[in-house]
Amino acid sequence: MHKSWWKILSVVLLVYTFTAGLLGEVPKLPLLQETIRNLYFHVCMWFGMMILFTISVVQAIRYLRSFDLKYDIYSRQYAIVGIVFGLLGYITGGIWASFTWADQNKSIIGQFGSIARDPKLIGAAIALLIYFAYLILRDSVQDTDKKARVSAVYNIFAYTLLFPAIWIIPRILPSLHPGNPGAEGGNPAMEMDMKMRVIFYPAVIGWTLLGVWIATIKIRLALLKEKKWLS
């Protein structure tokens, strides 16, 4: 095992997130109640996804500058871990929303249509679908160099589209999701008090480092496979 300080830091921060995140004091908000603690988990998934996609696009650019296939492997593996984080963020958001946005007196299936059309959900779905297309595009090209080049260019395109899809458009349109005009109470991530901040920021770092750790394992495995294939 490559012993590194950041892997230990990740474990320490995550244990801190799980204990302090569940036991720490939180503001008493109507409707949200204890679910505000999901901030340390659900929101961190999206932050982690964003950081992993950023690393991925940087590696794609490095590939285009050097045409070294190593960077192509880096770029792909960071992207795929980012997608996993995004999917987890989406699923956890779905669970959270079904208990805070939905009317508990009506069936959740009957309200699905009105909740699922929320701009934030559609934007996030578009962003994830664009990244699914990245994986499909990669696997549809046979030639290794061409595959690397096409997917690096597409990676930059996908990364640019993240911004309108999840940052800009959902903030312009009225949405139930916090951080938008029309949402009750504004964005808890922006207005949270110090007690939550001291857990939230370490949580983001911890989750992201865990993602990076998994990505490095996948990268080393891919490099090993490559070596075997070449010899």
């Binding site: 095992m1 750790w213 998994i214 394992i217």
Partner: protein, 75 residues
């Protein structure tokens, strides 16, 4: 011999895990147990979630170690 020892280790670990609830029950009247039953037993949730987290991290670090071994072999 090494395989035998590894298998033994695995069986021992599995047995230890199997009996760990019994270990917890045995300490019914200690201070630890009182903490675990306070505040709507939220500490039980913390214990469960932390166990899952640590289990997953243990798994990832094992993968890491295995790949390190492979890397050494191919060098």
């Amino acid at each position: 011999m090494v395989i035998m020892r590894n298998a033994f280790k695995k069986i021992a670990a599995a047995l230890l895990l199997l009996f760990s609830p019994a270990l917890l029950f045995a300490q019914n009247n200690t201070g630890m147990a009182d903490t675990m039953r306070s505040n709507g037993r939220i500490y039980v949730v913390v214990a469960v979630m932390t166990t899952i987290l640590l289990g997953l991290i243990f798994y990832v670090s094992r993968l890491d170690r295995k790949i390190s071994k492979l890397e050494k072999e191919t060098k």
